[in-house]
């Protein structure tokens, strides 16, 4: 297994770029897919955002300075692409981000690629009601089991703030699930 430094060099070198990029896609596509999916909820939208993420990675790799881990950098791109996608969608429908979140969750009941039961749907509704950053933190911590240090590098927030954010998110979700 090559070191990350060597792998990055292979990604930048024209002769080895294509093969290295193929390896990169194979290694990260599933993790990035689920990260994006929990933001945009819909499979088709996730597919679009995931492809655009890898295209941005491919185009930007020469400018990658290696100051963060490749994984963190790609996650940041994926997160920004997903959030931009949502903003664009809200603008397209002339609705607020909150209204879009509610609409997306309501659409899950008719989504063939959502097989959640009543409690899982309720959980998604609760998550949709969280502020954007809390939603991200909760998904990354609870579903993706990411370390706070890694989340910190992705969404540019201190570990302490992340822990507090996660705690608040859990409390809000608990309240929603038990009372609604």
């Amino acid at each position: 297994m090559v070191s990350e430094t060597t792998f990055i060099a292979q990604l930048k070198e024209k002769q080895t770029q294509e093969q290295a990029f193929g390896t990169l896609v194979s290694q990260y596509k599933e993790r990035l897919y689920w990260h994006i999916r929990r933001i945009v909820l819909n499979h088709d939208d996730t597919d679009d955002v995931l492809q655009n993420t890898f295209i941005k990675v491919y185009r930007s790799i020469d400018g990658f300075k290696g100051e963060s881990a490749l994984y963190s950098w790609m996650y940041r791109i994926a997160t920004n692409e997903a959030l931009s996608f949502l903003k664009s969608k809200a603008r397209k429908y002339s609705i607020t981000s909150e209204e879009l979140q509610n609409k997306m969750v309501e659409d899950l009941t008719a989504d063939v690629y959502f097989e959640g039961d009543e409690i899982q749907l309720k959980l998604q509704k609760a998550i949709a009601k969280l502020p954007e950053k809390q939603r991200l933190v909760f998904n990354m911590k609870y579903f993706e089991n990411m370390k706070y240090e890694d989340i910190s590098k992705i969404i540019d927030t201190s570990v302490g703030a992340l822990k507090a954010s996660y705690h608040h998110a859990v409390k809000k979700i608990e309240q929603y699930v038990t009372t609604c």
Partner: protein, 171 residues
């Protein structure tokens, strides 16, 4: 030893990293105690990940062709004004270089002006053009009636920004 100093008694230890992971462990247990499901319910089409790489490769090849998204017309107006300024400066330069024979600029045919430029008698640079204008700031948005549409601008950046790193804030 006083009671308040009891905690300082040597010999008491905690596992390494205990306090660092305490909050995380606590919050994790809090979530589990609320019986929140770990499965979010999302599913994917059959063989999605197996076919993803080919789909991405096709899109990459399509993207290499590139696509220009037209912005608002402010750029066209700006270039038109810059071209007009260059022509104005050219007339001034030509007029000043002519002998005072009573001839006006309008007596010179456009073909003669073109030959004059082609032969390198006009040496205009950006500073020469800038001198034609005064120092008042130009409001780009005032050059068009509608200004730049936000949606077009965001779409343009989304489609054409290659170096994503320029927009990202490092941690």
């Amino acid at each position: 030893m006083k009671a308040k100093d009891l905690h300082k008694k040597p010999g008491f230890k905690v596992p390494e990293g205990y306090f660092d992971s305490f909050e995380a462990t606590l919050f994790e247990k809090t979530a589990q105690e609320n019986n929140l499901p770990k499965d979010d319910g999302y599913r994917i089409p059959k063989d999605y990940f197996e076919t993803f790489d080919d789909s991405l490769l096709r899109k990459l090849k399509d993207k290499k062709g590139g696509k220009l998204i037209a912005l608002a017309t402010y750029k066209k107006v700006y270039y038109t004004l810059a071209a007009a300024a260059a022509v104005l400066l050219l007339f001034i330069a030509v007029k000043n270089s002519l002998p005072a024979s009573g001839e006006s600029l309008y007596d010179i045919s456009s073909a003669d002006v073109e030959v004059y430029i082609d032969n390198g008698y006009v040496t205009l640079n950006s500073y020469d053009i800038a001198e034609v204008f005064d120092d008042t700031a130009i409001d780009i948005t005032s050059m068009t009636e509608d200004g730049i549409d936000d949606e077009n601008l965001i779409d343009y950046l989304h489609e054409n920004l290659d170096n994503y790193n320029d927009l990202m804030i490092e941690n």
